[in-house]
């Protein structure tokens, strides 16, 4: 059981207030010089003023892992929409690229893009069932994801 002291709780409250204060004080894009930038440390996003709007200008690379299970596929949420994902488990690798065949490198791969293993429309990617679709029951799968 975690014990939170009064000092820790106070520090947490102060940090939350500071973060909220900083976010609230980011000026509207229309009020800053053209091309101004700022970096969101909590989301790793670099934003630039473009045509009076804050636009994300950097890519995010995330890593992680998941354990395959016996279900008929599931979404692996990585926190953002991906442009490419590489997955590896044991000696099998997978590459997910939009508008291209989905490749299960050692077994010929799936050519469909919606039924087995594919980039999710909004966040991360979707697995299928079994080793050909990055969901081998009980195996740890490691991923490297790049944002759009």
């Amino acid at each position: 059981m975690a014990i939170v002291t009064g000092e820790q709780a106070l520090a947490s409250d102060v940090m939350s207030m500071l973060q909220a204060d900083i976010a609230a004080n980011i000026p509207a894009a229309a009020t800053v010089p053209d091309g101004s930038i700022y970096y969101e440390t909590d989301t790793y996003l670099l934003k630039q003023e473009q045509a009076n709007a804050w636009v994300v200008v950097n890519k995010i690379i995330a890593t992680g892992s998941y354990v395959g299970d016996a279900t008929a596929g599931f979404q692996v949420s990585v926190g953002f929409k991906c442009s490419m994902v590489i997955i590896s488990q044991l000696h099998t690798n997978y590459i997910l690229i939009p508008n291209s065949g989905i490749q299960h490198v050692l077994a010929g791969g799936h050519t469909d893009r919606t039924a087995n293993l594919y980039l999710h429309a909004a966040d991360g990617f979707q697995t299928g069932t079994g080793v050909t679709a990055a969901n081998l029951n009980g195996a740890t799968h490691y991923y490297w994801a790049i944002s759009e």
Binding site: A62, V67, G68, D69, S77, V78, G79, L90, G138
Partner: protein, 73 residues
């Protein structure tokens, strides 16, 4: 790195995940690195499939020869 688990309806762990990008994983509960590693350590070791292709080819050749011999006979 953040660690998450998803549960079965009976409360047992369905799956664990780790993610470097900070975000809330839908329908999952955040766990400690220790709990994550304990679950991973409890999984049975999965051995990669090892195929002896030379032997498989020899077996197929034998089957083909057998079929040929039947046709000739």
């Amino acid at each position: 790195m953040q660690y998450w688990k998803k549960l079965n309806p009976d409360g047992t762990i369905l799956r664990v995940e780790s993610h470097s990008y900070p975000h809330v994983v839908p329908d999952a509960t955040e766990i400690t690195k220790e709990e994550f590693e304990k679950y991973i350590a409890s999984l049975p070791v999965i051995e990669p499939e090892v195929r002896d292709l030379a032997t498989e080819i020899d077996e197929l050749k034998a089957i083909v020869d057998e079929i040929k011999n039947k046709k000739i006979g």
